[in-house]
Symmetry: C2
Subunit: 82 residues, 2 copies
């Protein structure tokens, strides 16, 4: 079993309306020190395999094909387990 932790974030040059909405909400609650909020996705994918190199290429393929929209999003991932 290998657990992949995938982080999908919006590219710096792309507007993040969800982040802006959360920032406004925080301001309206009195958290005026908040300068910027960017929101992304966090995924834990458990793979039934023991081959780390294969897992890496498979997770990369999943990100490219489904988990991230690479036009506007970046992704990175970490693997743990045997």
């Amino acid at each position: 079993m290998i657990k992949a932790t995938v982080y999908v974030t919006i590219k710096q040059s792309v507007l993040d309306p969800q982040g802006n909405a959360v920032q406004s909400a925080l301001h309206s609650m009195g958290f005026n020190e908040v300068e910027k909020v960017r929101i992304g996705k966090y995924l834990e994918v458990t793979l039934n395999t023991a081959d780390r190199a294969e897992a890496e290429s498979r997770v990369r393929a999943m990100c490219e094909k489904l988990l991230a929209n690479t036009v506007i999003e970046d992704y990175r991932f970490e693997l743990e387990g045997a």
Copy 2:
């Protein structure tokens, strides 16, 4: 400036329909080694402060009040910067 990286995840005992949908999609694309998918949120919050201890208590308050629904979600965060 302190940057807080916040991870909001669904508690283990709570169903994750979004994760299940992604898992089904991955299976239908041929990624049959995927055993489980859990999806959470990843937030980068930039704070205009230099006081790390204060930043920690403020970010905890933001999580409790807005960023996480603590009935069904867990959160954790890391601070970086002076």
